[in-house]
Every structure is written in structure tokens, then in C-alpha cells.
Symmetry: C2
Subunit: 250 residues, 2 copies
């Protein structure tokens, strides 16, 4: 398990310069059909453009930290982001990975309940909460869509609780690979082979395992011929049906 080293966290933060951009070409957004903005027509889209700002994040760059004032919301448009929570002694739980089309920053209370950090180079679309709320008031379609996305995330969170509380290491890794594969497919990318953009440590912190156990479990699945590990984090899954069985404990 990764225990956060404060010094390295600061270094990482400094390293992550964010060169901001300015144009917001929502109507040309390639992942719009996956986002909150899917529900909008051209004129509504213009309103959204007016209050949104495109931002680039370097790999490792922080988007926001747990406990910070939740003044912005973000749409991921490119790259992979992780969200996580920490215990005071540095134990970490990654509670989700976000891909293009995903939405971050909903906070019922006024503070973020988790931290968000870029795993790869990322592009996100930023909205200030103050400006977005009146827009939601005027466009119930958008709010409905947001509620739908929140429900969907809630269901995913419950699935993840089942994984964390009751699955074995092998079942966890199998479920993780299948879920990544599915999400890649949903985005029109290859579901097989699937690319793992994140480190073994991040995977471990997502699945409630250590790096070593993650690595050993990959090795085990490889030996069993269920997966093939290629360079660049590419994982081929010749035994995808077998992987499905494993993920269910069969």
C-alpha cells in the first residue's frame, strides 16, 4: 500500500505545472455524448461554453484536494484521473478512476470529500459551481442528466464495495480488468487489449491490495493463460470469458 510521503507529494505538485488554455469549443467536443452536456442543444451549449474553461494537467498534477472549498466542477475530456482519500498515517484508498466524459466535483457539503489527481496528461473542462447552478436551474434536462450520472456512480460505488469487502485478490483483479475493458469500449476504444494507464500502486490502492499482491496476481493470471501482458501497460485478454467467471468467484 502506498503511504503518502508529504515531501514527495509536494515535489509532485510543484512538478505539475498547468498551462491553462482559453477556448471552449463545446460544440466540437468529441466526448460530449458521454457527458452532462449530452442533453444540450446548440444554444444551451453556447451558454455552457461561456462559463467553462479548458485546462490541461500534467501527469501527476493535482486537480483539487480533499477538504478544499468545492468551488469548481470538472468534466474530463482527455486522459485518466484518479480520485482518492487518505488516512492520517498515509494509507490511501483510490475510490475511482475517471475517463473522458466523466464528471468530478459534486459535493453536497461545501468541501470536496476526496482529492483528484491526473494519472496521465489530461484535459478537463472547468465550471465554477456558482455559475453552473443557475444554469442548472434554467435547464432541468441538464440537472436530470446529472442525477442520472450520480445514480450510475452510486451503483458503481456499491459494486466496488462488494469487491472490496468480499472478493479475493484474484477476483478483484479480474473484475478490475473487465471494468476497464468495458469503459474503454463505451468510449469507442479497444476493450481488448485494454491499456492500464495507472501504476500497480494505484491499482492496489483502488482494490484494497498491495503493489506486490497486484503484481503476483497479474503473474498468476498470465501463467494461467487468461491474460497476456504487453509493454506500455497493454493487457490482452484471450480468456475473457474465463476472466468473467473468475471475477464472479466461479
Amino acid at each position: 500500500m502506498q503511504r503518502l510521503d508529504i515531501k514527495s507529494a509536494l515535489t509532485r505538485r510543484e512538478a505539475a505545472k498547468k498551462p491553462p488554455e482559453d477556448k471552449s469549443p463545446c460544440s466540437a467536443c468529441s466526448v460530449r455524448h458521454l457527458t452532462v452536456c449530452a442533453a444540450l442543444d446548440e444554444s444551451e451549449l453556447a451558454e455552457v461554453s461561456a462559463i467553462s474553461k479548458t485546462i490541461e494537467l500534467a501527469a501527476g498534477g493535482p486537480l483539487f484536494d480533499e477538504g478544499e472549498k468545492a468551488s469548481n466542477l470538472y468534466n474530463v475530456t482527455a486522459g485518466t484521473i484518479k480520485i482518492y482519500k487518505l488516512l492520517s498515517d498515509g494509507r490511501r484508498q483510490v475510490t475511482g478512476f475517471l475517463f473522458p466524459g466523466d464528471f468530478v466535483g459534486l459535493a453536497n457539503e461545501s468541501l470536496y470529500a476526496y482529492s483528484a489527481e491526473a494519472v496521465t496528461v489530461c484535459t478537463v473542462c472547468r465550471f465554477s459551481r456558482r455559475e453552473l447552478e443557475p444554469l442548472l436551474d434554467r435547464h432541468p434536462k441538464m440537472e436530470r442528466r446529472l442525477l442520472g450520472m450520480a445514480s450510475h456512480e452510486l451503483a458503481a460505488a456499491q459494486e466496488q464495495m462488494l469487491l472490496l469487502g468480499r472478493k479475493t485478490a484474484k477476483e478483484k483483479i479480474a473484475s478490475f480488468l473487465l471494468s476497464l475493458s468495458q469503459r474503454a469500449q463505451d468510449r469507442g476504444q479497444s476493450g481488448n487489449p485494454v491499456t492500464l494507464a495507472m501504476s500497480r500502486t494505484d491499482i492496489g490502492d483502488f482494490l484494497g491490495l498491495t503493489t506486490e499482491t497486484v503484481s503476483r496476481t497479474f503473474t498468476h493470471l498470465r501463467s494461467a493463460g487468461v491474460i497476456v501482458l504487453h509493454p506500455g501497460g497493454k493487457v490482452e485478454i484471450p480468456g475473457i470469458n474465463r476472466l468473467r467467471e473468475i471475477s464472479e468467484g466461479l
Copy 2:
């Protein structure tokens, strides 16, 4: 860990007769300020009354099952309900306990993603999804409130992932007791002593532990003088600050 025994589940289900009632005195609802309905004025409340129906559940009675068509939504008005998911071999993860004011049944897809079952005798308020949706369209306030509740649940789910993935048995039990205590207080009930309405098995299935470990951990906290176990599931917490420290791993 409880592995679901089909026979006993059926017995339990038959045992749970639900004598339905008919009146819906929303305006007299004692937990309204905690629910979706908090946002509503008198005339809106009347509309809600018109499409809601009060239902009583015996202890152990099922509300709905995972995979069932999600045609209803429910507001809990009295009692405790558990929601859970199962693996095919019977391993169970309780993903939440619901108390008066809580809302169940949101399902983005058309099927419930989990099962819901009464822990104690319960009263719930039922809405059909078909009738509720147009009402939400007309009352954005209510939809906004629902989004707020969903965000809140999402934050709770993430906290629970941190617990499941990274906390020790002792930390899990401590966090659990504190969270129940807080929720009781939010409802104007005693936070100390706090009453545990659910069995050790349910607690274990919620925390990713076995009954035995739950029991041993309670014993350990009792020996340490942090809690006192009284009959009827009442837990007194003389060392509530100590319990806070324990829950954080200090």
C-alpha cells in the same frame, strides 16, 4: 460471513407479511425535514401525498431484490432497512443501512442494483417511478434536493470504500459505531448510548468482516473501556473521543 441459504431466505420471505395501509399524511410526516420532501410547500406536499402509499414491513421482510424491475422508489419513515449485494456463492456485502428520512430505489438503469430488506419492523413511503418523474419535472426544487441526497450518499460510499479497503477490524468497528451514533443524533435520537438494531452478521457483512471478528472486536473495545455493551443492542460510549482516534488509526 453469511452465505445466503436459499431455503431460509424463502422462509424469511414468507414470514414477512406486509399489511398495507392507505392514508398518506405527508404534512404530518415526522421525518419530512430529513427527506426529499423537505423542499416542498403545502400544495406540492398534497401532490406527493396523492402518488405515495404507506407500507409496513415486518422484520426480515424484503422490499425488493437486486435485478428486479425498478418500478418503485421509497422513503423510509420508521425502522431500519439494509441494502446488500450477493455473489453467486452467497457471499454478501451490505452496502448500507437506511434510517428514517433516507431514500431508496434510485436506479439509473431500469433494474435495482441491490436488494433491500427490513432489519426491524419498518414503515416506508412508496412512489411509483412513473408517477414521480413527471412530478420531479414540475418541481425542480425536489429534483435538486434529490441530487443533493445522491451526492451525499456518494460521499458516504467513498468513505465506506476507504473503510473496506484500508481500515483494520478495530478501526472499522469504531468508525461504524461513530457513524451510527451520528445518524441517530441527526434524527434527534440518542447518539450515546446508541442502539444497534442489526445482527453481528449484518454488521460483519457491512464492514467486510466475519461475525466472529465483529464479536471479538466488540469484546476488545469493551475490555479497553471504550464502550459498554448493554442488553437490547444498546452501546454506551464513555470513551467517544478515544473511539474517534481509533477510527482514524491514531
